[in-house]
């Protein structure tokens, strides 16, 4: 039970190290790096490799942005399994709704509560 905390820390840290290498060595902008990681997550799920990583590392795999690509693909595949090709389109946001809806909601709440102070 306690080993999941260690693997979460290590796997989550390592995915961030990949991001840092893309920043510093490949000289990509943060936006390009995040897009690349999202695409990588969705391809890994297509190959069936991301779910085992979640079982192994828990939040270490679900919190990095790669899991966003993974859950988009996962929702699309789950619906496609039920409804065929049209499910690819309709199922996409089924799993990952919480990330986007909470980002929109909390973003709006934050805009109401907080005052802009320079570059937040």
């Amino acid at each position: 039970m306690s080993s999941i905390y260690i693997t979460a820390f290590i796997v989550g840290g390592l995915i961030c190290v990949i991001g840092q290498l893309l920043f510093d060595v490949a000289k990509l902008t943060p936006a390009h790096t995040l897009c690349l990681l999202v695409v990588a997550g969705s391809i890994l799920d297509g190959l069936g490799l991301y779910e085992p990583l979640i079982d192994f590392a828990g939040a270490g795999a679900t919190i990095p942005i790669t899991s966003f690509g993974n859950s988009l693909t996962h929702g699309a595949l789950a619906e496609a399994e039920k409804h065929g090709l049209i499910g690819v389109l309709t199922g996409m946001f089924e799993v990952t709704s919480s990330g986007i809806s909470s980002a929109i909601l909390f973003g709006f709440i934050a805009a109401i509560i907080f005052k802009p102070k320079g570059n937040v």
């Binding site: 999941i4 905390y5 820390f9 796997v11 989550g12 840290g13 995915i15 961030c16 190290v17 990949i18 991001g19 840092q20 290498l21 510093d24 936006a31 790096t33 995040l34 990681l37 999202v38 695409v39 969705s42 391809i43 799920d45 297509g46 979640i54 828990g58 939040a59 270490g60 679900t62 919190i63 990095p64 942005i65 899991s67 966003f68 690509g69 988009l72 693909t73 699309a76 595949l77 496609a80 399994e81 065929g84 090709l85 690819v88 919480s98 990330g99 809806s101 909470s102 980002a103 909390f106 973003g107 709006f108 934050a110 805009a111 509560i113 907080f114 802009p116 102070k117 570059n119 937040v120």
Partner: protein
């Protein structure tokens, strides 16, 4: 000055990136954020009716809530300066991009400012996530229909 000379000169003049230090900081920051999230997931599994797999949804929402507080009080920027990719890659970085854009454009009004600019930075992540998910899922669905692979 030709291109080669310029590239060499650029390399000499630009400050050396402390690569190992940056990697270590990113590892620590990203690892700690994921560790906190793992404890949040434990909370949802213990006190609510969530399994290990379904707990990730409320965990993501909670982490973005933390990100809202840290961004609003100007602390996430400081974490970002220390952690680099360690603070940008976790979902809290995605939340920070949305939330900071929302706060920053408040003065232009809620519709034209907050609403239109919220996804200024995060939009590209959503675009490429959706597009790649579409392509991957399409390819896999076709391959399954053809009997090459199974679900």
């Amino acid at each position: 000055m030709d291109e080669k000379k310029y590239a060499k000169l650029e390399q000499e003049i630009s400050p050396k990136i402390p690569l190992m230090k940056n990697i270590l900081k990113a590892f620590l920051t990203g690892g700690i954020i994921c560790l906190v999230a793992q404890f949040v997931a434990l909370f949802y599994m213990t006190y609510f009716d969530f399994t290990e797999r379904t707990a990730s949804n409320p965990t993501v929402a909670t982490m973005i809530f933390f990100s809202m507080l840290l961004t609003g009080f100007g602390l996430y920027k400081k974490i970002g300066q220390f952690g680099g990719a360690g603070s940008a890659v976790p979902i809290t970085g995605f939340g920070n991009a949305v939330i900071s854009a929302a706060i920053e454009h408040k003065s232009e009004g809620y519709v034209l400012g907050v609403g239109s600019n919220m996804f200024k930075l995060a939009g590209s992540v959503i675009l490429f996530g959706v597009f790649s998910a579409f392509v991957v899922a399409l390819i896999k669905t076709i391959l399954v229909k053809l009997g090459v692979v199974s679900w």
